[in-house]
Symmetry: C2
Subunit: 333 residues, 2 copies
């Protein structure tokens, strides 16, 4: 098929073991033979067969990136960070877009297992991805990015959700809004759910009241948030400001408010979470809590690779929490 070390060995009139040594910079090869071999390799456009190498070395230098939906604007930045850090360290990234489809997720687990990926980066949407955790059976390094189950023994790179929720809410309070509501997803046992906790903390600590009627929970889809806010408005009892769990939902909320004939922030102020790129566009101007997504991605990749390369050594699993940052735009002031 393609050029192998044997072809090179033949031309260089050495054994193919020597070629392997020369090409891998191993100790103990005559510089002259070495140069000769390298020259021939270049002439022949030799490309080592990573599959063969992996087979003997049990190192595939490949990781799996599993995420629910690459078209959700939150994830590409994470993926870009992961990707960059990975290629820098010579690792390939197998993209696995689960679409929240269990069948597909299973196929991916198979694929990743069969290809002997050395680790998995998992950006879970909902907690059923614990399956995956189960499937890997703790035998494969696994690092969560951006979200994780509350209880897991695996490493994770997360934003400080409680603090983020607190900061967002505090900001609304500082703006002087006296009634503040929450719109989000109620996903038990996942870390991003803690944003609500931060919200509640802020409310309570500043002498406001938690009003159940102002807190609504739906799905991850924009339309869900749209519905929730429209319902709230039609009930003629809306809070003066809203903290929405993520920017995607917040955009749904903005639409809903607009379609109800109300104005942001004059009638209802809104703050989101994530700082996806859309949020900064001049037509949207959504206040939000920024996540350093790119950095979180590359950090997670680095941690995963570290776990891979220190395999067997003492447990170095850890959870890294990055700081949220308040970004004030026109939707809240």
């Amino acid at each position: 098929m393609s050029v192998t070390i044997k072809d090179i060995a033949r031309q260089a009139e050495v054994s193919y073991a020597t070629v392997s040594r020369a090409l891998n910079d191993k100790y103990g090869v005559n510089p002259r033979t070495r140069d000769k071999i390298i020259k021939i390799a270049e002439e022949l456009h030799y490309r080592p067969n990573a599959l063969a190498r992996s087979l003997v070395s049990s190192r595939s230098f490949t990781i799996g990136l599993v995420l629910p939906d690459i078209t959700n604007p939150y994830f590409p930045e994470i993926a870009a960070g992961i990707e960059k850090a990975s290629i820098e360290q010579g690792y390939g990234v197998l993209l696995c877009n689960t679409d929240g489809d269990i069948q597909r997720e299973k196929r991916y687990m198979r694929l990743l297992a069969e290809r002997r990926v050395e680790g998995i980066l998992l950006a879970p949407a909902i907690s059923k991805t614990e399956d995956m955790e189960f499937q890997t059976q703790n035998s494969l390094p696994l690092v969560y990015v951006s979200n994780a189950p509350l209880k897991t023994s695996h490493s994770a790179v997360l934003i400080d959700n409680i603090r983020g929720g607190y900061i967002a809410t505090k900001h609304l309070i500082d703006c002087g809004y006296g009634t503040i509501g929450f719109i989000g997803v109620h996903e038990e046992d996942m870390r991003d759910n803690e944003r609500f906790e931060g919200f509640r903390n802020a409310i309570e600590r500043h002498g406001l009241r938690m009003e159940e009627k102002y807190c609504r929970f739906g799905t991850f889809r924009q339309e869900s948030a749209y519905q929730l806010i429209r319902e709230m408005i039609s009930e003629k009892d809306v809070p003066r400001a809203l903290f929405v769990e993520n920017d995607n939902l917040a955009i749904g909320v903005l639409h809903g408010i607009k379609d109800s004939g109300l104005k942001v922030p004059e009638d209802i102020a809104v703050i989101g979470f994530d700082d996806i790129s859309y949020s900064s566009y001049s037509e949207v101007q959504l206040s939000t809590i920024r996540q350093p997504k790119d950095r979180m991605g590359s950090l997670a990749a680095k941690m995963l690779i570290e776990e891979i390369e220190s395999a067997g050594k003492d447990n170095n699993r850890r959870t890294v929490i990055v700081e949220p940052e308040l970004v004030v735009r026109q939707s809240s002031c």
Copy 2:
């Protein structure tokens, strides 16, 4: 390390060749032994080693997806389509985000070559990715998606750019705008450049004049389009409507118009191209030409896989042109 067919063979008290046959549904295995083997394989959580299999079969069932920037909202939908079609056919996708960085692109070419990917899907930003075409030396199946060099012998899945440009411009003409300008990127030799050609066709065919001063070319960045429109406005001579080469730039244009104190579409009407999700948001309402990105992605993946699996057979390279669709929103009427 992990469970191999030898382990299974030992337990089943057969040779490991029989195990291979049984597990691969080959002709000529006693159903009883077969069942026994399959049962044991399951008990042992056996996962075939794809690397070993690839080595002997010369089939890696892996393709490379090379794109300039996954955080550009245009690409994730393409990627999702690719991804879906690929996994359905049992292929893994190695994600390669070049970031327009030549060094990185080279690294990727190495990585993909060494891992013996069976084909490459290339979504090029600019024509320098011809390098890649050169590198693969026509030895690897390569399919372009969404954009391609004007001259290439490889397959491609493209939108009808000329027609798209024509439709967009025709729409502006139909709205009654008498002076129409163009903002875009001037990238010689790439197919998406043909949008300008469609623009010109429409202008000329409807008795309008091509005004050079209304046609401006910059880079791919939003800021570039922002600058161009601001300059135009500051020169006090602006067309009544603008066709912008893609939605990303169009958003820059919208910002620029807004920051100049003008209104869309009252002062300047705008239409873009691509229909990225952001364009449909109620605050933006950008008229545009829709590309069926998801479908283009999966089509490209299917074509690539077809080329791979018909290797050696007669040349089945082809260019598929999909139809653009006019989407009218508030920015143009």
